[in-house]
C-alpha cells in the first residue's frame, strides 16, 4: 500500500506542468478559469496544440498516434490540465469514436478517419439519444434501410452536444425491424452535409446553445460508412459507453473548482468577514473538500485495479455518481458565495470579458454554470441508471 506516485509519474507531472506553462494560451486558460464558454476556434486551437505532442488522442495506442499513457498518467494529465485552466478535450471524435474504430473498424476506415480526427479536419458529434428514450439507448427508432450501395436513414437524434460545430455524426440506427433491439442496431457514420440532415438548436435553461436535435430525412449514407457488422452495433455502442471510464469522476475539474471556491470564499465578505469564516459556509466547503479527498483515492483505487488487470464495471458507475455530485456541489457553493450577485445575467459575459460582470468577476458565470451543470447527473447515463447498474452488477440485486 503506497499512495505516492512513482518518481517516473512525478517526472511526468512536471513535464505536463511545463508543457501547460509554455503552451496553454492565456486567452483560453483565462476563459476556462472564469467559467466562460469556449468557441470552436478555442477548442480547435487547444486540440492542435496537444496534438503536436500526441497528447490529444491520449487514449489511443501509440501505433495510431496516441502517447500510450497509463491510466495514472491520464489522471495526472487531467488534474494538471484542470488546475492550469486547460479546456476539457472534446470527447466525441477522439475519445468516443476513435476507440470504436480502432477496435471494430476495418483498415480502410482506420486509415481514413483516424488521421482526420487527429488533424481536426473532422469534427464529430454523437447520434445516440433519441427523443423520448432518455437513458434507454436500446430503444433506437432511427432506421437505416439498405438500398444498393447506400443506407437510407430516417429518424431523429437529440441532445447532440456541439452538433453545430460538427461535420460528421456517428449514429446508432436500426437496420432490422423484426429482431430484438440488441440484435438489430448498427453503427453508422453520417456526413452532416448530406441532403436530408437538418440540425435544430436546443436552448438550455441558462440561455446557452450547446445541444441540438438532428433530423434525418431519406439521408443517403454509403455502405462503407458502416462500422463493423450490420446489426452488431449494440456491442460497439456498449464498448464506447464503458471504454476508459476511469476519468469519469472528473476529479481534475473538482480540484480546480475547489481551489477557485477557496479563493472566492477568502475574498467575498459577509458583513466584514471572509465567507470562509462563516461557520455554515465553512462547513459546506469542508464537507465537499473531504468528500473530494476521499473520491481522489477511490478513483486512484479503481485506476490501480484496472492497471492490475481488473475491469471497471460498476465501479465506474460509482465514480460517475459521486464525481458528478461533488462537481455539482462545488458549482452550487460558488453560486451561493455570490450572494445577491448570482442574479445579474449579462449574456455576453459568458463568452468574453468585453462586458464586465456585475459584482465580483466570478459572478458573471456562477448561476449559469450551476444551472448548466445540472446536466452532469442526467447525461452520459443518468445517476439513477448508474444506481440500477450498481444494484445489478455489484449488489447482485
Amino acid at each position: 500500500m503506497d499512495l505516492n506516485f512513482t518518481p517516473e509519474e512525478e517526472a511526468f507531472r512536471t513535464e505536463v506542468q511545463t508543457f501547460l506553462h509554455e503552451k496553454l494560451p492565456a486567452h483560453i486558460a483565462n476563459k476556462v478559469k472564469a467559467g466562460q464558454r469556449l468557441s470552436k476556434q478555442d477548442q480547435d486551437e487547444w486540440h492542435a496544440i496537444l496534438n503536436t505532442r500526441s497528447w490529444y488522442a491520449n487514449h489511443w495506442p501509440q501505433q495510431y498516434g496516441g502517447p500510450g499513457w497509463s491510466a495514472v498518467q491520464k489522471f495526472i494529465f487531467d488534474t494538471e490540465c484542470a488546475l492550469a485552466g486547460g479546456p476539457r478535450i472534446v470527447p466525441f471524435g477522439v475519445n468516443m469514436l476513435g476507440p470504436v474504430l480502432i477496435k471494430f473498424g476495418n483498415e480502410a476506415q482506420k486509415r481514413y478517419w483516424l488521421p482526420r480526427i487527429l488533424s481536426g479536419q473532422d469534427w464529430w458529434c454523437q447520434g445516440y439519444s433519441e427523443p423520448g428514450a432518455g437513458s434507454d439507448l436500446a430503444s433506437v427508432k432511427t432506421t437505416a434501410v439498405r438500398e444498393g450501395e447506400h443506407y437510407i436513414v430516417n429518424g431523429q437524434k437529440t441532445w447532440t452536444t456541439q452538433g453545430q460545430y460538427a461535420n460528421m455524426i456517428f449514429c446508432l440506427v436500426r437496420t432490422d425491424r423484426e429482431a430484438r433491439p440488441q440484435e438489430s442496431i448498427s453503427f453508422l457514420l453520417v456526413d452532416m452535409n448530406s441532403p436530408g440532415v437538418e440540425l435544430r438548436p436546443i436552448r438550455t435553461l441558462d440561455g446557452d446553445h450547446e445541444v441540438n436535435e438532428v433530423f434525418f430525412t431519406d439521408v443517403k449514407v454509403p455502405v462503407e460508412n458502416l462500422v463493423g457488422e450490420e446489426n452488431k452495433g449494440w456491442t460497439y455502442a456498449k464498448y464506447l459507453l464503458t471504454y476508459e471510464r476511469t476519468g469519469i469522476a472528473g476529479v481534475g475539474f473538482s480540484v480546480a473548482a475547489l481551489e477557485k471556491l477557496k479563493v472566492i470564499a477568502a475574498k467575498v465578505h459577509k458583513n466584514g468577514k471572509p465567507l470562509a469564516q462563516d461557520p455554515q459556509f465553512a462547513a459546506r466547503m469542508a464537507k465537499v473538500e473531504i468528500d473530494l479527498e476521499n473520491m481522489k483515492t477511490t478513483n486512484l483505487r479503481v485506476i490501480a485495479a484496472v492497471a492490475g488487470g481488473g475491469v471497471p464495471g460498476a465501479e465506474s458507475s460509482m465514480l460517475k455518481i459521486r464525481g458528478t455530485e461533488i462537481r455539482q456541489e462545488l458549482l452550487s457553493l460558488i453560486r451561493r458565495a455570490m450572494g445577491p450577485y448570482a442574479l445579474p445575467f449579462i449574456e455576453e459575459a459568458q463568452y468574453t470579458d468585453a462586458d464586465a460582470p456585475v459584482g465580483p468577476p466570478e459572478a458573471a458565470t456562477a448561476a449559469a454554470n450551476y444551472f448548466n451543470y445540472r446536466k452532469l447527473s442526467i447525461f452520459g447515463g443518468s445517476n439513477e441508471i448508474q444506481k440500477n447498474i450498481i444494484s445489478k452488477m455489484i449488489l447482485g440485486l
Binding site: S129, G132, A133, G134, S135, D136, S139, T158, W159, I202, R203, T204, L205, D206, G207, V211, V268, H269, K270, N271, G272, L275, D278, P279, Q280, F281, R284, R335, R336, M338, G339, P340, Y341, A342, L343, P344, F345, I346, E347, V358, G359, A367, A368, Y370, F371, R374, K375, S377, I378, F379, S382, N383, E384, K387
Partner: protein
C-alpha cells in the same frame, strides 16, 4: 383555528390566477421577463386595476388588505405565474412608508396602489451579503438636507424606478443597527447613476451609485438614525412575499413533475412506476407541505407577536423555502431528465426562480444563523 382563506382572499386568488393564465402565460411571461425592460408596464397597470397592489396594504391607508395572509395569497399567485412585475419593491417601500412616513409621505401610497409609481428599495450593498445592518453608504448633513454617497447592489428595477428608498448611515459603525437613516430619492436625482441588467431568472435590477446626491430635509423617512426597525419590518414583508412566491412556484414545479412521471415512458413503463422515483416524489411532496406550513407560520407571525417571535418565524420560513425551493428545483429537473433543462419547458424557468429566490433577502444559511442568533439569550 382555521386554515381556510376568507371568501375575499379566495376571490382575489381566483381573479389573479385567471388573469395570469390569460395574460401572463409562460410565453408572454418569458417575452416580458427576458425583454429589454424585464417587465410590462401595461400589465402592471392591469394588476393594479385588479387590486393586486391594494391587497398588500390596509384599508386605513387606501388599500384593502395588508394582513400577512393577504400578502401571501397575492405572492403565491404571482409565484404560480412566475410574474416578474415590481411587486416586491412596491410592497417593501410601501410598508416602510406606512410604518414611518409623515402625512405627506404616506400620501404617496394612493398613487402607488394605483400602479402609477414604480418603487425600489436600495438597501443591500456589495459587501453586506445579506446582513441587514451593514450600511456603508453615508449621508452627511448639508444645509437643510443631506448629501448621499455610496453604492447599492442588486436593486430590483433600480434602473426604472420613479422613487428609491435608500438606506444611508448618519452615525455609528458600519455594521451597527443604530445610525441608519432612510431617504426617499427620485429615480432621476442628480448624481444617482445606475447600471441596469437582466436577471438570470427574468426581470431587471440595477447597481446604483450615489455620487454626492443632494436631498432635501423632507426626503428623510422616519427618525434620523432610527431607520433599522423600519427596514427590518419592510424586509420582513419582503421575506414573507418571497416565501409565498416560492411556494406558488414549487407547487407548479411539483405538479409538472408529477404529470411527467405519470405520462413519460421508459423501458416500456411510465417512469412513475419506478419505486425509487416514487419515493423521491413522496419526499418532495412532504417537503412542499412543510414549506406551505412555514409560509402559514410566517404570515400569521407578521401581524402578531413581539419582534423576536415574528422575526424567528420569518427566518424559519426563509430558511425552509430556500432549502426546499432549491431541492424542488434540482429534483424536478433531475426527474425530468434532459428535457427539464430546456428553455422551452416552463419547468426550467420555475426551477431558476426557485433557486434564485434563495439569493434574495438572505439565503438559507443566513436565515438559519439568524434564527439561531435571535433565539440566544440577550
Amino acid at each position: 383555528m382555521n386554515f381556510e382563506h376568507t371568501e375575499d382572499r379566495r376571490m382575489l386568488a381566483d381573479t389573479l390566477n385567471r388573469f395570469i393564465a390569460e395574460q401572463y402565460g409562460i410565453e408572454s411571461r418569458n417575452h416580458i421577463a427576458y425583454g429589454a425592460q424585464g417587465r410590462s408596464p401595461a400589465l402592471w397597470q392591469q394588476f393594479a386595476d385588479l387590486g393586486a397592489i391594494g391587497a398588500l396594504f390596509p384599508e386605513a391607508e387606501g388599500g384593502f388588505g395588508g394582513a400577512g395572509f393577504d400578502i401571501a395569497v397575492v405572492f403565491e399567485a404571482l409565484g404560480q405565474g412566475l410574474v416578474v412585475e415590481p411587486f416586491l419593491g412596491t410592497l417593501m417601500v410601501g410598508q416602510a412608508l406606512l410604518a414611518a412616513g409623515n402625512a405627506a409621505q404616506k400620501a404617496r401610497l394612493a398613487e402607488l396602489i394605483d400602479g402609477g409609481t414604480l418603487l425600489a428599495l436600495a438597501h443591500e450593498e456589495p459587501d453586506a451579503h445579506y446582513e441587514l445592518a451593514r450600511v456603508a453608504t453615508r449621508a452627511v448633513p448639508q444645509g437643510d438636507g443631506w448629501v448621499l454617497t455610496g453604492q447599492k447592489a442588486m436593486v430590483l428595477f433600480g434602473d426604472q424606478a420613479d422613487v428609491l428608498l435608500v438606506s444611508a448611515r448618519t452615525s455609528g459603525a458600519v455594521d451597527s443597527e443604530e445610525g441608519i437613516s432612510l431617504f426617499l430619492l427620485p429615480g432621476n436625482a442628480v448624481g444617482l447613476e445606475h447600471r441596469g441588467y437582466g436577471r438570470i431568472d427574468g426581470g431587471h435590477a440595477a447597481e446604483i451609485t450615489l455620487n454626492n446626491v443632494q436631498v432635501c430635509a423632507d426626503a428623510l423617512l422616519g427618525n434620523l438614525g432610527q431607520g433599522f426597525a423600519t427596514l427590518e419590518r419592510a424586509v420582513g414583508y419582503g421575506i414573507l412575499a418571497l416565501c409565498a412566491e416560492a411556494l406558488g412556484a414549487m407547487d407548479v414545479a411539483k405538479k409538472n413533475t408529477l404529470e411527467y412521471l405519470q405520462t413519460r415512458k421508459q423501458f416500456g413503463k411510465p417512469i412513475g412506476s419506478f419505486q425509487a422515483l416514487q419515493h423521491r416524489m413522496a419526499d418532495l411532496l412532504l417537503e412542499v407541505e412543510q414549506a406551505r406550513s412555514a409560509v402559514i407560520n410566517a404570515a400569521a407571525a407578521i401581524d402578531a407577536g413581539e419582534r423576536i417571535t415574528r422575526e424567528r418565524a420569518l427566518s424559519a420560513a426563509k430558511y425552509s423555502l430556500g432549502r426546499i425551493g432549491t431541492l424542488v428545483a434540482e429534483e424536478s429537473i433531475q426527474l425530468h431528465g434532459g428535457i427539464g433543462m430546456t428553455w422551452e419547458l416552463p419547468l426550467s424557468h420555475y426551477a431558476k426562480r426557485l433557486v434564485m429566490i434563495d439569493h434574495q433577502l438572505g439565503d438559507e444559511d443566513h436565515h438559519l444563523a439568524r434564527f439561531i442568533a435571535l433565539g440566544q439569550p440577550h
